[in-house]
Subunit: 331 residues, 2 copies
């Protein structure tokens, strides 16, 4: 364990100054006192009070999301978060969360029991037990793609879906498309609701009438295309906007099996710009989310919340990446 | 200009320690060095090195906003921004902007000519020449309380007015108020529009009907109260929500001159939590914006934009600070 002398040497001040800081003496500034305490904690010096506290640990809670491989959506998010967190000497654990865990244990209890001082929660659905509890938690929590009103300890991080979908719809409209379908991600999700509203809004902006037969929820899996794309084609869709690139890869399969060429017969746009987007043939035009930066922003938000700075939203702009999957409409 | 001794006294450390901090000596900690630098910046001390690195320059552009004294709205914003910017060795110039300057010179031209690599723009009105140009600029720009769609180089920083106004209106409603007036800030301002919409929305949320005779624009000056408060009182207002604390101080004057006691006869709520809020009698309940943190978030946003990370929004939550200016409605 570090001694008071170690702390004094590290900070370049007298031992007596460190003592004053640790004991809350009135003749040093509040800022210096804080620095002495911060340094003491960092160097492993522990007063009795500190000894009761756990190690400096954060959790990345993951539900409904792949993250273990480079081409998974969550991979870069975790990487960006970790890169920033390690600079401030946080240990970061990635914790897969299941409905079973959420029903067995309350959010606050879980966090306290494991000594986590804050969490970055990714992939949670609106109806999850923990989402209801996070709305009222006093544990600093940054949420990816979920928003909670009025709670000073909870912040949102995400990409502006509205702008992304507007750019995509405008691009399709400019290429002559008038029947633009949307195969969204999972229902019961805050971000899917935002995107559904953005899609309808963007259609109205260009003067098109939303048609419920041209939209469906695809649960962020490629396979969902098989169930929804044939109906959309039957309704006359000339372009399909997708909730993510995996769904788009499924749309590719279905269209090809129906003898349609991309982009000559049908245009497809993805979301996220996962590695798969540039591996498809033709390469997929998509709405890019910068996931590494989102992870960094999540850390910035969480670290602010831990320091009692109530960031409610940190939002990144998407980019529309043009590749080869959008063509002129023939109709 | 502050001396090294002033900084040492303020922090409660030796003069030699401050010297080490300013000169980057290896035998004091990075954290203490940072604290010394932050304090030096705050106290207006500048090293030779700081003076030399003026080529790496950012501008804080200020219009329609007081910032020179501790009790001005802009003061802490600039302080927070500077504290963060100096850590990355930026020189920061504060530039007062006038309509004349904006009509004489284009935004991009001004920035390039003076070698600014980015700007934090505070207090701009929607119709300002430069606002129209910033919508399409490629120079990294963080806007306080102004939002520009789709531009990858421009980000918004602000406090969630909607939540602040909702908290204030709910508080007043819970105390029995049914005629809640709103003396807003300046018209032709993005944030005033947001707050006007939030006020109307909050009234509807609690089941009250908006009444146009109970709202007016007060240009963020105390004097505006003289023109608008008598009419609001005549309409039966029992509470007045104000666009900032200065307006609230004007409302205090008018109410007192009409023989009304605060909070017995009329309730008043401010916005911002400037120092004046706690100097009024009775002390003013207000919607607090953490201006130092807003300034820090502005730097975070601008620095991200400079590094090609497109943050579109960084939003802080307000706090409702209860003091002595809200009472039960007698009607």
């Amino acid at each position: 364990m570090a001694t008071i002398k170690d702390i004094a040497d590290r900070l370049g001040v007298a031992v007596s100054t460190v003592s004053k800081g640790l004991n809350g003496a009135p003749d040093i500034s509040e800022e210096l006192r804080q620095l002495v305490l911060d340094t003491a904690v960092e160097m492993g010096y522990r007063t009795k009070k500190m000894r009761k506290e756990e190690h400096k640990k954060l959790a990345i809670l993951v539900e409904n999301m792949e993250y273990e491989h480079e081409d998974d959506f969550g991979y870069d998010l975790i990487l960006g978060f970790r890169q920033m967190a390690y600079r401030d000497n946080w240990a970061v654990n990635v914790v897969p969360v299941t409905p079973r865990l959420m029903s067995r244990e309350k959010y606050n209890t879980y966090m306290l029991k494991h000594g986590y001082l804050g969490a970055f929660a990714m992939g949670f659905a609106l109806k999850d037990n923990w989402m209801g509890q996070i709305a009222h938690t006093d544990i600093p929590t940054a949420l990816l793609d979920n928003y909670v009103p009025l709670n000073q300890r909870v912040g949102y991080v995400g990409t502006d879906s509205g702008e992304g979908i507007e750019m995509a719809v405008r691009k399709l409209y400019d290429e002559g498309h008038r029947k633009i379908a949307f195969l969204n991600g999972s229902p019961n999700s805050w971000v899917s609701e935002q995107r559904q509203a953005a899609y309808i809004n963007a259609l109205k902006e260009v003067g098109l009438k939303p048609d419920s037969k041209l939209t469906a929820y695809g649960y962020y899996v490629a396979d969902s295309a098989r169930y929804h794309v044939p109906g959309m084609l039957k309704e006359g869709a000339t372009a399909i906007l997708c909730g993510n690139d995996l769904i788009a890869s499924g749309v590719y399969e279905v269209c090809k099996s129906e003898g349609l060429k991309i982009p000559d017969d049908i245009s497809v746009i993805g979301f996220d710009d996962l590695p798969i987007a540039s591996e498809l043939t033709p390469q997929l035009s998509t709405i890019r989310q910068d996931r590494t930066e989102l992870g960094k922003c999540a850390y910035f938000t969480l670290n602010s919340l831990i320091h009692k700075v109530s960031i409610s939203k940190t939002m990144l702009r998407p980019q529309f990446v043009e590749r080869g999957s959008v063509g002129k409409s023939k109709r």
